[in-house]
Amino acid sequence: MQAQAISRAPVAQRSGFRRTLRKLGVKGVTAEIVKYVILLTLAASFALPFFWMVTSALKDDSQVYTVPPIWFPSPAHWNNFWNAWHVRPFTAFSINTVFQYAIPVTLATVFSSAFVAYGFSRIKWPGRDVLFLICIMTMMVPFFVLMVPRFIIFKNLGWINSYRPLVVPEMFGNAFFIFMLRQFYMTIPEELSDAARIDGCSEFGILARIILPLAKSALTVVALFTFINSWNDYLGPLIYINKVSLFPISLGLQELQRSVMQSGWNPMVYPHLMAASTIITLPIVIFFFFAQRTFIEGIALTGLKA
């Protein structure tokens, strides 16, 4: 067995191609080919919905309702994007989403979670770990259990048809991000805090001047995830927001689908829906493109520490 293994060890090759393959750690050419074939097939399958979404956005009705379907619409209707955006007040919807929901909730979550996580990690006090365990356990409570009573609470407060039911609870910390930030804070050496305490710094001061600057990357992850989740959020607004003028993007898209899917002949149903979907997905693409590293480290951070 060992002799076989040794004889299988890489040997200097004359031929350039084989040598390149050996350098890549290739056992056999067939294995590599199979690997890439699988990879590319999967990649194509994964990309298909996006491809379909964008190309369909450029079609007109005659190009949609054909059998077999057209893959590359020949006169591409770029004005579909403009039209779809204005069939329904999507500008107003985006403003609602960004300024009434995404930004407030991101600020609220980042500040409150950063604040609370400090108490769970940088100060030792009796009962801290028990309380933290309870905090984590709240993540296990399904949203649907809390959905009805929360609705009733907010109805009694008169907050229906506003974004307050979605933003205000986040001002009290988000269990998931408290968990994540706590794990991160715990990687910062105690000596820094101790030195500051000796110099007479208050705990608030330590948080503001030492911990937060060091936690910038983690805080960015929190902000990014929160922003994207609020951009994508459908169920939350569905429950609390009924006035069309207040709709966020998610409900706006459904509104578009509903209005064009009525009975009777509806022109440009699919192209407009696909065009609007493309535009809505665009900010996510941009965010993701610029923040890929942060994203992926963030997910790895949450997953591994669980």
Partner: protein
């Protein structure tokens, strides 16, 4: 008076007003920092939790005051022959199919990405991206994609000479179609697996190669066992998520066709906000909660048999 006896200098050591031990001081500070969470926890979690339990014993339609009916809602759920069996069947079918398949596909994708591949970050981004696309966009795009007449998938099938598949209009195929879409959006789990795979010590693989292991041996005897903690984690998350799956069935198929995708959460939402049966919906929500806890506990309890927590403790 010739010898001046030094008097104690007043205020040399300032007297503390409150003698707080470090322990108490820390307790106060700790609680101060954590207080927003405590308040939020009490107001938005504990109170609604018990409130929901309370409402589950009532008939409440928001217009009239709640009426106490004891276990009436629960009894009704378990004796309703027209809805309950379908809803329960649909939900379990979906969860038991989508959770394992989702975890397996995420794991396989992660392994594929972990192998030496050119352009890994591009493929990784591509496979991850579906997980952060807004759920409504996913619903509408896949709706069109799987359309029997005009969709791309059926178009491709026709192109190769196969017959078309009515993914979303055939009751038998609706749930598997949802599972398929679920497998497309496993980016989160895949990334977690990818990070885990990179933590598996190289030395194990090298030792195995010396002993004559081939690729399959390495995968089956090293990779999988070392990843079992994270496999368990993702399985549990998949179950919890699967039971709460709402948006896709609601938007893509609306519970149809023929109630094939009427999942527990869809039925719950319908009862709460369409029929305004808040009490019944609350009872259903608690049954959901108990089910999720039950499955989570079972999975954790049986995990010791197959999960390997190596010296690199997670």
């Amino acid at each position: 008076m010739s010898i001046a006896i030094p008097k104690a200098i007043p205020n040399a050591i300032p007297k503390r007003r409150f003698k707080l031990s470090t322990r108490t001081r820390n307790l106060v500070l700790g609680l101060t920092f954590v207080s927003p969470w405590i308040i939020g926890f009490l107001a938005w979690t504990i109170y609604p939790l018990f409130s929901s339990l309370y409402y589950s014993f009532q008939n409440y339609d928001l217009l009239r005051p709640p009426v106490f009916i004891g276990l009436g809602n629960y009894v009704q759920f378990f004796t309703d022959k027209s809805h309950t069996p379908t809803v329960v069947y649909n939900t379990f079918y979906y969860v038991l199919l989508s959770a394992p398949l989702g975890v397996v596909s995420a794991f396989l994708l992660a392994n594929l990405l972990n192998a030496n591949i050119k352009g890994r970050s591009f493929f990784r981004a591509l496979f991850f991206f579906p997980a952060i696309v807004p759920a409504m966009v996913t619903a509408y795009v896949w709706n069109f994609l799987l359309n029997v007449q005009y969709g791309a998938v059926n178009g491709a099938l026709r192109g190769v000479g196969l017959s078309t598949i009515p993914f979303l209009t055939n009751p038998q195929l609706a749930k598997p179609s949802l599972v398929l879409i679920h497998m497309w959006a496993q980016g989160n789990a895949m990334l977690i697996f990818l990070a885990t795979l990179q933590d598996v010590p190289r030395s194990l693989y090298e030792a195995a190669i010396v002993d004559g292991a081939n690729t399959w041996h390495k995968f089956w005897y090293i990779t999988i066992p070392m990843c079992t903690p994270v496999i368990l984690f993702n399985m549990i998350m998949a179950f919890i998520g699967g039971f709460q799956n709402f948006i896709l069935p609601w938007l893509l198929t609306g519970g149809g066709p023929n109630q094939a995708t009427e999942f527990f959460t869809v039925y719950l939402y319908r009862n709460a906000f369409v029929y305004l049966r808040m009490g019944f919906a609350s009872a259903m929500a608690w049954l959901l909660f108990i089910t999720i806890v039950f499955f989570t506990v079972i999975m954790l309890k049986t995990s010791a048999r197959w999960v390997y927590y190596g010296s690199e403790a997670y």
